[in-house]
Symmetry: C2
Subunit: 147 residues, 2 copies
């Protein structure tokens, strides 16, 4: 990793790397409440989507859609939450979060007030993470149409 | 508006309409804490980005980037927050939120814990909304490259 030393996403991978190339990487985040939480991280330290060219944006988002589709198809997520915030870490990254009715924050965003303790469904998803990880890696090994 | 009667974004415009076409609309949201909060709303009642074709996604996001650029250029936002959540209203829409150090939630997401009361900078941005609105409308009147 290179870039700005004080930036967490320059200094570290930011999670369990599922895919990486010269421009970007996709990581699985260890999240006790929201297993399957992924991030698509632009390698270069830029803050905003409009700092990228149109082609770069398309390549970054093509990876977001790949992750979204795996989360929908393999886990039948009730909703996908997508966000690029970066207020604390202004290094371009997308949160791709599978959401389920009854998950610890639903229907609030994961940044909102927790609604309930994690239940057996959360534990079951934690246990199913290796299979999800394999499915994500398989999908991400497929070139996107923009490449 | 047509679509699902119980859906707020099928039943209402969802804000002050700055731009609309057959596929989508862009609205300015009345938000006392975060003036300049915009939404880009897909007109048809679909839930996820992966429910759209690649061309539809590109057209929707081209409008998001137009809004982002105006918020950066005209208001020098410290950060742009982008999100497609839809847990409560599963009708595809993007939040495009200008964020400022010292705004009521910074550095938390606007869905997180409020950090402070709105200050004079928030009041100044509220007062500047008409000019921002005009700039957004001017930008959105420009065709996107995907059209």
């Amino acid at each position: 990793m290179s870039g700005i030393q004080s930036c967490e996403l320059c200094a570290t991978a930011g999670g369990d790397v599922l895919y990486s190339d010269q421009e970007l990487r996709v990581v699985l985040v260890a999240d006790a409440l929201h297993p399957g939480f992924c991030r698509v991280i632009w390698n270069q330290h830029v803050a905003e989507m409009s700092d990228l060219s149109e082609a770069q944006r398309a390549r970054l988002l093509a990876r977001v859609w790949q992750v979204e589709q795996v989360l929908r198809q393999h886990w039948q997520a009730d909703k996908i939450n997508l966000a690029s915030l970066g207020n604390m870490t202004p290094h371009l990254h997308w949160h791709v979060i599978p959401r389920f009715r009854g998950d610890p924050h639903f229907p609030q965003p994961v940044w909102g007030t927790q609604q309930r303790e994690p239940d057996q469904a959360v534990a079951a998803r934690q246990a199913a993470l290796p299979a999800l990880r394999a499915a994500l890696q398989a999908a991400l090994s497929t070139a996107t149409t923009k490449e």
